[in-house]
């Protein structure tokens, strides 16, 4: 007569393994996700070090964005456009649409200089910075003047 075999899986090592994994993962878990917006260093210091005239045949495009207390000013080749800041909120849709038009007009242009008024809150700087990167201007320089 065949003997009765005990077919139960031994779960103790599994429990040990899982317990160790849980402890390890809990200890190394990053609960607060933080990311960064990177400045373009060459562009940041552009105000102090003018770029060399390496390609004179290309059309020079001067593009800068100034965040003031009550408005955002976009200067494109000495032509300025204004976007009012109401109740301390930047009208991102309007600004984004305009910057997209600029990007479509000059698709090779990827650098822009960002000026800020000393009194504005830091989040306004980041909001405009983020918007510019989102539109496609990857090289955003922040002026410290």
């Amino acid at each position: 007569m065949a003997k009765e075999t005990n077919e139960e899986l031994n779960l103790t090592p599994f429990i040990g393994l899982f317990a160790m994994l849980v402890v390890l993962l809990l200890l190394t878990a990053v609960w607060n996700q933080i990311e960064v917006l990177s400045t373009n260093s060459a562009n940041s210091t552009a105000s102090n070090n003018p770029s060399p005239p390496s390609e004179p045949e290309k059309e020079k495009i001067d593009l800068s964005v100034s965040v003031l207390e009550d408005k955002v000013q976009v200067s494109l080749n000495s032509q300025a456009n204004y976007f009012p800041i109401l109740d301390s909120e930047i009208n991102k849709d309007q600004l984004s649409n305009y910057m997209k038009k600029v990007k479509n007009r000059y698709p090779e242009k990827s650098d822009v200089l960002l000026y800020t008024d000393n009194r504005i809150p830091y989040r306004h700087l980041i909001e405009v910075f983020d918007l510019l990167v989102g539109v496609g201007f990857q090289d955003v320089g922040v002026s410290t003047q």
Binding site: I15, A29, E35, T39, N118, Y122, I126, T144
Partner: protein
Amino acid sequence: MSNLRGNIDRVIETPGYHLKPQYDLEGTRARLYDGQKKNTNAVLPLASMIDMFSVLVIFLILNFSATGEVFFVNKDIKLPEAKNTNPLQGFPVVSVAKDIVSLDAERVGENPLSIEEKDYNLPMLKASLQRIRSIEETIYPGREFQGRINLQADQDLAVVYIKRVMNTLIETGWVNINFAVQPIQEN
């Protein structure tokens, strides 16, 4: 159907317990058949426990960050939010709170500057940055100094304080500045 059979007036009943009452061990019978006493060989159901651990492990693995960054967020700082972000990397961290500037959680100077003031000098921060730069250049002698640094600041702080710190950073060669932000989760 009736239980009565045959012609004799008697009742054929279903047999009961066969022991004579004088030999009946009521306690033994109760233990054997009534089920009052349970089997004492208890087994812990481990399958559900394994399930729980599995779910926990999967959740933690999904939230695991292999980059191993350590980023000290000052309790007084509420980071601004942004969408188009890059992953955080392990560079030195300059924190600018309402009344203090710190480098890698080490206090390096107060921040009582009036907005009207034009003095951007932060000598303690500058000295600390130069010290870190010299350490980095000693560790990697042949490599060009990259000057990459993370900057975190409170979202409501006036930009003048950030500019002041940025000026000090650029002066000491830390030109690749990364602004720490809270990423906006897109659905």
